[in-house]
Symmetry: D2
Subunit: 336 residues, 4 copies
C-alpha cells in the first residue's frame, strides 16, 4: 500500500520533504503539489522527477480524490485554513510548525479534530524523533534517574540575521524546547519567567541576547533554558535532566575525536540544518506509517496548542519581567 501525498508549499522545507518521500522513505509517493509561486511548484516536480499534478491552490489539492494525505509547508499564517480543510475532508495532514499562528487558531484545529472523532493531524516538531532525545526520554521513562527535578537546557546559534528580534527567541527558537520538554517530562507548564543577562557585543542592538527562560512545570520541575543566538562558536543544543538518583544528558552529535594542533577535540556543528536532519526522515516515515495503519501518532494538535500557549506566556514574560502563568483550556480526553 502506497500513501498518495500532496504537498502545499514547495519552498525549502516542502521540497525537502517531497525529496525524502521520493528518494529515502518507504510507503509514500508525491502525487500533488501547489505553491503560491506556481512556477516554483512546477520546477520541483521537474527537479525531483515526480509524477505529480500541480494544483492552483491548497484547497483544490486537498480536495483531489487521489490525495490520501497532505503536507502543509506553506507560510505560517495559511496553516490553520489548510489543516482545517484537510480535517473537513477527512484526510491526514502533516503540518509544519506552527500549527497556527495563534493559540486560538490551534484550539480551532483541536476542536475540529475532536469533532472529526479521530487523529488526523501530526505537527512537525521533529526533535521528538531525534535519536538523542529518544534515548533521553527512554531513560526517564525507565526510571534510570528517578523522578526529574530540574532541567538545565541551552539553545545556541552561532549568529542570527538582522531581522531577528527579541520575541523570536521564544517563537522561533525556544519553541522547539517548549514542545520537546513537555513531551520529555510528560508534564505541562505552570509559569514562565525571562531574565536578561548582560548583552553580548555580538548581537545587533535591537536584540536582547542572550536570554534565560525560567520555567516551572505542574509537577514542580524547574527548567532553565539559555537562549543564546549569537554565541559564535556553534549550533549547540544541550539538555541535562537532573533526577532524584542521577543525571542524564542529551548526547552530543556524533563526530570524530581528533588530536591535532594542540587540541583534543570534536567538531561542533555550525549549521542548525545538520543537527536534526535525520529526525525529519524519521518523523515523516512515522507519518506515512500512521496513514497506512490509520493510527496517526507523534505531536498532536493538542501539542501544537500547548506550545502556542507556552510561547504566548513566555513572550508576555519577556515584556513584563514577571513570572507569568501558563493557562490552557482543559485537555480533551481524546488526547490522553
Amino acid at each position: 500500500m502506497t500513501i498518495n501525498i500532496g504537498v502545499i508549499g514547495t519552498g525549502a522545507i516542502g521540497e525537502d520533504h517531497a525529496r525524502r518521500i521520493t528518494e529515502t522513505l518507504a510507503g509514500g509517493q508525491i502525487v500533488a503539489v501547489t505553491d503560491v509561486n506556481m512556477e516554483q511548484a512546477r520546477s520541483v516536480v521537474e527537479r525531483l522527477g515526480l509524477q505529480a499534478e500541480v494544483y492552483a491552490n491548497g484547497l483544490e489539492l486537498i480536495a483531489a480524490p487521489n490525495v490520501d494525505a497532505v503536507l502543509v509547508c506553506s507560510w505560517g499564517p495559511t496553516h490553520e485554513e489548510f489543516v482545517l480543510a484537510a480535517i473537513a475532508a477527512g484526510k491526514y495532514v502533516f503540518c509544519e510548525k506552527p500549527l497556527a499562528v495563534t493559540a486560538e487558531g490551534c484550539l480551532n484545529i483541536v476542536k475540529a479534530e475532536v469533532a472529526a472523532g479521530k487523529r488526523l493531524v501530526q505537527v512537525g516538531f521533529m526533535r521528538r524523533y531525534d535519536k538523542g532525545y529518544q534515548q533521553l526520554k527512554q531513560s526517564i521513562d525507565n526510571n534510570d534517574i528517578g523522578a526529574p527535578l530540574m532541567l538545565h537546557c541551552a539553545h545556541r546559534n552561532p549568529t542570527v540575521p538582522d531581522r531577528y528580534v527579541t520575541s523570536m527567541a521564544i517563537v522561533d527558537t525556544a519553541i522547539h524546547e517548549l514542545d520537546a520538554l513537555r513531551w520529555l517530562l510528560d508534564d505541562d507548564y505552570k509559569t514562565m519567567q525571562v531574565v536578561y543577562p548582560r548583552r553580548t557585543k555580538n548581537a545587533f542592538e535591537h536584540l536582547a541576547d542572550p536570554q534565560i527562560l525560567l520555567i516551572e512545570t505542574l509537577k514542580g520541575v524547574r527548567i532553565d533554558l539559555e537562549i543564546f543566538v549569537n554565541c559564535q562558536y556553534g549550533y549547540d543544543i544541550q539538555c541535562s535532566v537532573v533526577g532524584e538518583e542521577g543525571i542524564a544528558n542529551l548526547p552530543e552529535p556524533q563526530s570524530l575525536l581528533m588530536r591535532k594542533g594542540a587540541k583534543l577535540y570534536n567538531d561542533v556543528l555550525m549549521d542548525w540544518k545538520d543537527r536534526f536532519i535525520e529526525s525529519y526522515d524519521i518523523e515523516l516515515q512515522d507519518f506515512i506509517r500512521g496513514c497506512e495503519k490509520d493510527a496517526i501518532g507523534g505531536p498532536s494538535s493538542w501539542d501544537g496548542y500547548a506550545a502556542a500557549v507556552a510561547a504566548d506566556a513566555a513572550v508576555t514574560a519577556q515584556e513584563s519581567g514577571q513570572v507569568e502563568p501558563v493557562v490552557m483550556v482543559d485537555r480533551p480526553a481524546f488526547y490522553n
Copy 2:
C-alpha cells in the same frame, strides 16, 4: 521506478533485508524469495505481507523474468554459484559475506564480472556505510591529518560461544576490518603477522584469545588490530588513524552521558547487532539506487577477493607465527 528484488536465503539476515526493503527503504520491493527450507520462506512472505512468489531454488529465482536484482543471503558455500548465475543472467546481485568461501572462488566471480563488462555485484561489507567510518574516511581524504602512518584498532566482543575456534578470529571477526581498512586507506596489504598475548581465563580452552594481528600495507602503514572476543565488558570497535599532522578516532556509538552511582558514564553496547544496524539500511538503499541508475557502487567483487586473500594470509600467520606475505593477482583495470 521500483526495483524488483528476489531474496535467496530467508534466514535471519535474509528476512531482515526483506523487511527493510519493504518497510524502511525507498525504491525496491520483494517479488521473489527462496530458501532451502521452503516452509521458512513461505512464513517470511506471510509475516512481512509480501507480494512475492516462493521459488524452489536460487537458480529458478534468478531466472525469473520479473526479478531485477538478487540478494544472496544463503549459506556461505552456496554464494559463489548464485552470484555467478546472477552475473550470467545479467542481473544485479547483492551478496552477503563471504563473496565465496575461498579466494579462488572470489576470483572466479571477479573474472565473470569483468567478462560481463559492467559492475553487477555488491558485497555486504556494511561497515563502509557506518556513519562513523564514513566520517573517518572523509577526514583522511580531506587530508585533515596528513598521510596515515599507523592504525591502532580493536575488535572486541563480550563473549563467544564454545564453537568459536582460533581461526574464526580472522575469518569471522577480523574480516570486517580486513575489508574496511583497505577501503579507509585506499591501500592494500603487504604482510600479516599474528602474536598471542597471555590468554584470558575467560575463553574456552581451545581458543587463543586475545590475538593481535600486525599488518603492513603497500604504502608502509602499520596496523595493529587487537582481536579480543571474550573481553567481557562490551562489543567495542576502535579505530585510531595516526597521520603526519594529527590523529582521527572512530566515534563511539551515540549514547546518553550519565552521572549515576559514583560514575560519569556512557553505556557500551553488549550486542554486535546494535552496532552497525543503521549501516544495513544505508548499504541496501545504496544497492537499490545503484540498480536504478545502472551504476552499482560499494564493496566490489574485487574487494571480496582482496578480503579473502588477506584472511588466508592471516590464518597462515596464525599457524606459522611468522610474517606472511599477502599475494594477490593483478587488479583488473575494470575495478580502478
Copy 3:
C-alpha cells in the same frame, strides 16, 4: 627563614593543617597549639611529633613572642575574637571559614585591618587554589571566551545528615561558590533569588532539596547555581562560564577512563574531602610565602565580608521567595 606558626583549634582541620605544614610544605613549623580540649591539643603534638608548646587559650598563643603567624581553626563563633587579637598583635593570621559568623563581625575585622595599615589576614576559601578554578580564572582573564555573560553552576553532595537544614544550603554549601564566583568574575553581586524545584524523596522532610540560587552581578552576569545535597550519585562541582565568544568549563577531577561492565566511565568522587585536598596544601603554602615576603595574598577580610553579606541576602531570599538586593558598604581603597 622559617615561619613559626601557632594553631588555635586542633580538631580535624586544625590537625590536618599542622600535619601539612610539618610534613608537606616548605618554610613553616608549628611552635604553638591550643584547643578548648587541652588533651586533644596535646595528643596532636604527640601524634605529629611537634616541637610545640601547648597554650591554655588562643589569646595566650597569639601573645607568645615566638609565634609569627596564627591559624584560626577553632569553632566559628570564636573566629572574630582571635582574628582581631592577631591583628592587634600585628601578626599574620590564616582564618578558616567563616571569617566571622555575621557580616558585622567581618566588617569589624576589615576595619581593624585597614586601621593596622597592612594585609594581615587570609581567609580559608581554598577553592581559589584549586587547579581547575585557577585554569578557569586564567582563561577568563586571558579573554579566551570574551566577556562572561552567564554561569551555570552546580554544587552536589551524595547525602547530608539529619541536622542539615535548609539555610545550610547557603551558609555551609553555596558559601564556597559565593566566594569563588566573585573572584572568578572580578565582580560583585547585585541580587539573589532562590527557587525550589520539586523536592527529592531522598532528603529528610525538614529540608528543601534541591534549591536553585539565581544571582545577578553588578556587571549583569546571570548565575544559576543548583544546590543539591542529596543527589546520591557523587560529590560533584560544576561551573560553566558562558562568554561572548565561547564557553569554559571547570575540569572534572582527574581519574582513569575505564571500560568495564558495559560502561565507558570515570569514577565520580563520593567524599567532598577528596575534591579540594590539594588546594589546602597550596593555600597554606601561599600563606607561608606571604608571611615570608610580608605580602599576604589570597582571600582577604574584605572577601570574607563580601561572602557573608551575599550569604545573608541569599538566606533572606530563601525565606521571602523574592529577588533580594545584596548591599555592601563601600570597599576600602586598601583592598583594591
Copy 4:
C-alpha cells in the same frame, strides 16, 4: 629533622631540584653544590639564596661531613662514579636518569649497594610518581580489570631537534616507558622488536620516525608502544591496559573543556616539561622522607639496571629487525 643535601651538577635539572627542595618541599635543605662550571654553581647559590658551600667536585661534596644525601644531576657519563662514591660513603643518593650509561655500569652499582647491605640509591624515574600512573597502578593492583593481557601505549612529541637520531627513540624517549611499564605490571621483559611504519615527512631525513616497539613480558603480556617524536600536535603520553575484565586508561592531563570556534575541546600540552612537573616534587619529597626514615623507596638501582638492559635489547632490535631477547642477571634477593 632536616636532611642536608648536596647537589652535583647545577644545570637545568639540578637547579630545579635545588629550588623545589628550598621552596616547595618539606624536610630538606641544600647545604652543598658543585658543577663542572663553578661559576654556574655559585650563581645558583646566589639565585636561590642558599646557605650552601660550593665544592670543587662531586667527590669532595660527597665526602663533606654535613652532607646527608646527594643528588646526582651531572652529565650522564659521570653518574656511575658519583653514585658508587656515595654508596661507599654510606650516603643516600638520588640519581637522575641514566643510573649509568651502560647496563654493566648499572650492575656495578647494584653490586655495590647489595654489598653495602641497605638501599641507598633512588633513580629519577619520575613517571612512577605521576598521579595518573599511580591511579593506573592502583587499579591494576586492585584487580579492577583482572590480569593485564595487553598494553597499548604511545609516546609522542610535537617535534625533536636535528641532533635527535633513531636510537634516541629508545634511550631518551621510550626509556621512560621501559621503566614505568615494568613497575606498572610488576613484570619483566622477555623480548623486544621494532617495526618501522611509513616515515613522516615532518622528520629530519636521518631519523626513522615513527617507530613501534613491540614487547613481550615474562608473564606473556604484549605491549605495543608507538614512539612518534614529530607528531606535530602535542606532547601526548597514552597508556591503555587491557585486562581480562576491562580496560583502564591513563588519564589525560587536567584541562578546561572548552566550546569555541566550532570545536568542543581540551588543550593538549605542547611542552614535555609541563606533563610530569608535579611528579618531580613528589619523587623528591619521597626521597627526603626515605632519608628521614632510613627507608629509601622508589625506583632502585635494580630498576636502573633493568631499564638499561631493556634499552640495549630494543636498540639491538632497531638494528636487526628481529625479535631480540632481554637477558638480565638474576635479581638479588635484596631487591624483592
